[in-house]
């Protein structure tokens, strides 16, 4: 079986270097208000977190924060009328919807400014173009120039923006924690942070997309038999008995699993650390700590972890996920001899 060379016209991806000129950015109300509003919201959030649950508890269970079984809106219903396919609008769905909305807005903006060159000369535009340039040069730079680049640069850029938005929105506290309510009101849930990417189903789904894409490109570039031959890692003869099973394991299991588990474990442990540090201000080993200083220390450490996770880990993991997708696609379609 040989690869059929289907000549689908692939449009050229616009290069950010063609976006010449560096016009003076005109600061709008957004740029002036962003940092004061962001810091104000963070301060309010920590006050709310501290104030919302005043009764000391004897047992703290962080796994409750990752519980998705409670619907936030409505109840449980059958999707598509199929028995067993049931769903709820839980907090994960809401965070996912917000990130998807952000993705759509980003794509719309990129279409306006990068593709159709409708210049507005604002800071927002240079920020969005910066993200586009980063995705073009740093992430899709692992792909070989030409058709493969034009076809998969949008894919890897979408993966990057989507995972990045999922990671970043997961640090925005929303009133979705169904285990607690504020102020004795039944309908007002406590604020909490939840990362959709700390759910392994989400990361496995994204990894399966990349898995399907790189095997498809490998089979397309070499043919099925030829693609299986490229797994010999350049070895010949009886040493293949040792090498080949390892390569099968790598290509079919280890690559997608490590892709999924890396993102999942990073986001889960980051959120568990923040939660544990905040809980440390209330309880250690069941003993109630009433010292204000111990509580303040817990909050300070939690804030440090929060900034570290939001500033470094969230972006870095989105970058790693996208760049490894690009590397896997490139290595599957690579010419061997």
């Amino acid at each position: 079986m040989t690869a059929t060379n289907v000549n689908v016209p692939v449009p050229n991806v616009p290069s950010p270097t063609e976006l010449d000129g560096d016009p003076k950015p005109r600061g709008g109300w957004f740029g002036k208000l962003f940092f004061p509003v962001a810091f104000g919201l963070m301060a309010i959030w920590f006050v709310v977190i501290l104030g919302q649950d005043a009764q000391p508890k004897t047992k703290f269970d962080p796994t409750a924060e990752f519980d998705l079984s409670d619907p936030v809106i409505g109840g449980t219903w059958n999707w598509f009328g199929i028995h067993g396919v049931e769903g709820t609008i839980n907090k994960g769905v809401i965070y996912l919807a917000i990130a998807l909305l952000g993705c759509v807005l980003f794509a719309w903006y990129v279409n306006r400014t990068v593709v159709r060159r409708l210049k507005q000369e604002t800071k927002t535009q240079s920020a969005i173009e910066g993200v586009y340039e980063f995705a073009h040069d740093q992430i899709a730079g692992s792909l070989p120039e030409g058709k493969l680049f034009n076809r998969y640069m949008p894919y890897t850029a979408s993966i990057f923006v989507f995972v990045w938005l999922l990671n970043m929105t997961s640090f925005v506290p929303l009133p979705l924690n169904t285990h607690h309510t504020i102020g004795g009101l039944d309908f007002l849930y406590a604020f909490g942070v939840y990362a959709v990417t700390s759910n392994i189903f989400m990361t496995v789904t994204l990894a399966m997309l990349t898995f399907a894409v790189y095997h498809y490109e490998g089979v397309k570039a070499h043919g099925l038999i030829g693609y299986l031959k490229t797994w010999s890692a350049g070895q010949k003869g009886p040493v293949l008995i040792l090498v080949y099973p390892v390569e099968i394991l790598t290509n079919l299991v280890l690559k997608p699993v490590s892709l999924a588990v890396r993102l999942f474990a990073n986001m889960l442990s980051g959120h568990v650390l923040i939660l544990l540090m905040l809980a440390l201000s209330g309880i250690i080993g069941g003993a109630v700590i009433t010292s204000v200083f111990a509580q303040a220390a817990g909050v300070v450490v939690a804030l440090a972890f929060y900034l570290f996770e939001m500033g470094l880990v969230a972006s870095l993991q989105a970058f790693i996920f996208a760049v490894l997708s690009a590397i896997y696609i490139a290595s599957a379609a690579e010419e061997h001899h």
Binding site: D61, T63, Q138, N266, L268, L316
Partner: protein, 75 residues
């Protein structure tokens, strides 16, 4: 040994021992990057990108250990 104590020990041992290897790895990685940048400062930008890639791959191993420790503790 009581089950609770064993769970706490499992979390501590998993997280602590799991941090040794990645710690060595991160130190080696950053040290080599600094060395490379000092030798060829014009390569700095490229080396920094590669360093962050390796850094994320390395430090993820710490989190694997931590997550398995937390699984042992809370489940």
């Amino acid at each position: 040994m009581e089950v609770e104590a064993a769970k706490a020990l499992a979390l501590g041992l998993a997280a602590g021992l799991g941090a040794i290897g990645p710690g060595i790895g991160v130190g080696y990685l950053v040290g080599k990057t600094i060395e490379g940048t000092a030798r060829q400062p014009e390569m700095g930008g490229q080396l920094r990108g590669l360093m962050f890639l390796g850094l994320a791959l390395t430090e993820a191993i710490t989190f694997y250990a931590l997550v398995f420790g937390l699984l042992a503790f809370f489940l």
